[in-house]
Symmetry: C2
Subunit: 104 residues, 2 copies
């Protein structure tokens, strides 16, 4: 999948709490975050996640995660690769990612 | 406002993380929780909160908060009064309420 424009990002420092909670309160996005948390940075392309949604919906979910300061993306040749913004998100919302990553 | 049936509750122990996050990821519900947190238990009736929604929507928001283990309600004469389930929610999701109550 080739992307024309570079993705827009929001730094966690600029993210309201409600945006973060809303981003994480969705099963697909929770799964994306959890898979990213156990993957090396910049190794996961958008299509590599085990979530039951089509490309347009997936693209929307990644856009929500970027806007919530949770995910950073960059284009690597034809692929868009991802990393979890763990440290900076943790600093903004201490304990929230830990809660999400401990499972249920 | 008189209620026919007693409200149904879910104990925080039975609440999935995603249900809690989704319940809190809404501006009206966040406001309800924050106002409850600074009120004495069982002193706030459903109509006493400073939120810009009508009765039917408010009733839905309280139902979401009960299902997320965040709020307990009981009928006190003609009023339905509320308390935040602070201790038991905290035990289930440590740190989450603190994050919500610290403001933005």
């Amino acid at each position: 999948m080739t992307h024309r424009a570079a993705p827009e990002h929001t730094h966690p420092d600029k993210v309201p709490l409600i945006t973060a909670l809303d981003a994480l309160g969705d099963p697909v996005r929770l799964q994306l975050v959890r898979e990213l948390a156990v993957s090396r940075e910049w190794t996961r392309s958008c299509g590599s996640f085990d979530v039951p949604v089509r490309k347009a919906a997936l693209s929307h979910h990644f856009s929500v995660l970027r806007a919530a300061g949770l995910v950073e993306q960059r284009d690597d040749g034809p692929k868009r690769v991802n990393r979890l913004r763990r440290e900076e998100f943790d600093e903004r919302f201490p304990g929230l990612l830990a809660l999400v990553l401990r499972g249920d």
